[in-house]
Symmetry: none
Subunit: 228 residues, 4 copies
């Protein structure tokens, strides 16, 4: 259960690379259709040695979920804390979400498909963090509405549309495909905001975005894996 008390400097690096491989396999075949033996073979380790690093199969799933949720929440919190017009922040959030999806499609696939295989506290914790992110989106959209950037729309429903649009992308996205995260973010937000609100605001937001990127030198706003 508990990892052995002491282990060498290579341990963590090796462990992370095992999680990488597992994520890739889980993404392909699904968590419960992927065997420990396949993972062990993929990382060229005996099953015994594998367990030395991972503890249990479910642990792998927990780590993969965390690798998505940690950067997501961190960048989400940074972005909402910015002193920028809400529409700009929305656009930043959209892009950071899509960057994450693009960067590690396999993790996202596991994140979306297999979180239900978690049990007990692990499941509870993940569900809480997911709710936390949705709440964050809702708050930001409320901010947009209050700033008069959107037409009259329930923030709850608006958030769901935002999340549907972004979170379903993983089902058809390909890293070498036609669209990148920036294009896609611009298109998505354009659709959503132009649809919900008055014209004009959006162009202003895009303009500000260019400027913002040039000036900004705070901590990374990307929800990338460096933050995991």
């Amino acid at each position: 259960m508990a990892r052995p008390p002491g282990h060498g400097p290579e341990f963590e690096a090796r462990r992370q690379s095992i999680i990488d491989s597992a994520a890739s396999l889980f993404a392909e075949r699904g968590y419960s259709s992927t065997g420990i033996a396949e993972i062990a073979a993929a990382v060229d380790l005996g099953k015994g040695a594998l367990y030395y690093y991972i503890g249990s199969k479910e642990n792998l799933l927990v780590e993969i979920q965390d690798r998505v949720l940690r950067p997501l929440l961190r960048s989400g919190n940074r972005i909402t804390a910015l002193d920028e017009p809400p529409l700009v922040k929305l656009r930043l959030l959209s892009e950071s979400l899509l960057v994450l999806i693009f960067e590690r499609l396999d993790h996202i696939r596991v994140y979306e498909h297999d979180y239900r295989s978690l049990q007990g506290d692990n499941l509870t914790r993940v569900l809480e963090q997911r709710a936390e992110f949705e709440q964050l989106v809702r708050v930001l959209l409320k901010e947009c509405a209050d700033a008069g950037a959107l037409r009259q729309i329930e923030p709850h429903l608006a958030a769901l549309q935002f999340l549907n649009l972004h979170n379903h992308s993983f089902t058809w996205l390909r890293p070498d495909g036609r669209w990148g995260p920036t294009d896609l973010s611009r298109e998505y937000i354009r659709t959503l905001v132009s649809g919900w609100g008055r014209d004009g605001d959006l162009d202003a937001a895009e303009a500000r975005l260019v400027q913002f990127r040039a000036e900004y030198d705070g901590p990374s706003l990307h929800a990338d894996f460096a933050d995991a």
Copy 2:
């Protein structure tokens, strides 16, 4: 494999009710995490008797996929064949899709999550039918664009947005929840079309819709389970 050639009048009814139960279990735990034993217990049958009805576990999955794809394609084809303004047809398609999702959430969950567990020809066939539906959406959106109802947008990207928005809804929808399929369809289409195109058209489409429903007496345009 093949069901026994002869079977009594109860057979098909019982079989359908077993597929119902299986869909519900698959939706909860996922296809590959659900055991034949669980299904047998749920329908109060021995494993042997269960196989008398189902042939194989994969067969169950095939049937569930078909129960989604058959009505989807049927109503999709009926709707696109209508002699109505494209925007009206888009709205009808949206609603029929959402009605289906609402009516049998469990089937949709399995449809979205577990089709990859199919093998060989079964997988091929399902993928083809999925592509057929996406093509149908793309064609209808092209029609909308050609009729001048949308701003300049790639029909491919537009279709993806349409599908993201609708198909991800199953992840949070609850049959007893806040929104019904009609509300949701109106909101989704409003977001999409108002976002993509010139204002005005949409209100006209909604008005025509009311009238259409009053007059129409052709075959059902709903993608409901009666058609499966």
Copy 3:
């Protein structure tokens, strides 16, 4: 267990034709790899109806064994009882054995391969009958030796050679093949007798055989299925 007390005139005919089909299937796939379902399908009957005729799977095997052993012993006893030179009788026995093998290859295959699947009394009885036939061959060979037709050889070993040569033929024989039972019998006996004994006797035996066939009008000496 016990067949129902009364049954119509068709019963026995139908039953025999079921055993035919079973023998053919057992010959192809082996007794224990052939399912009751396959047999039922082959005779176009439900499994329930099949059991009405057969009682049990092992029963089928018993019947098939009997269909081989009954004619074998009957014709064997008839032949040894003839008042002919022993070599002539040996030749007749050889031919009647090969005729049986040719006539119903499938039964012979089952007879040779699958008698071990019998249990309890069924197995005992079949083993006894097999021993009875071997004894019969031994006695006939002893007669040949006593009549001076063979060189000095243990009748036991001679019998084994006789049986090896004949009984292994089913592994490669084909009803439409190059050799018929008469050719083969002549060749086998020629090899055996010319090998074991002094030349000359054999030609005399063959000559007598021709004559014998012309004169004989007792009960059939063939071990064919009419006797089963």
Copy 4:
């Protein structure tokens, strides 16, 4: 399927002893009537641990077939390549075949009864190797005939008689029985050759055989299990 890449020094020994036990069980009850559970019990291993060694049930059958076919073909090829009179080689082949049968009766029983349970490539390969051995016998018999050692007889039919006589012996042979492989080989060949050809040659061959055995020091001509 594939055995795990690395395994300790005990692995192969244990594996071989499992195949031994399996051969013994298959010989008794037949391949398809013997369950994996029986084998596991016989070797005092859990079913899981058993599979660690065997991979699959069919694998066991393949190994057993190979254990017969490999030494058979090896010694057959060595013998036919000898620069000896054909009759001497025939006699050697006969004896090496009988030695193999005696040494591992259980393997031979499985070899003769259950090769049909193999599937796909496994079946094809075994059939090819069986045909190869029969061809080898045919060629040697042709050589005997060409050397004038046999009366006029089709080599095909002669080969079948040779094989019938030898290969059916397993059905009644007992390792502790009355005859050993050498006695039996002498008797079989005496019967066959004295029957097929002119007297005299055979005695010469037996004499040469004694001498040959005294002089020969090449690789083993026995088809025994050391070669498997």
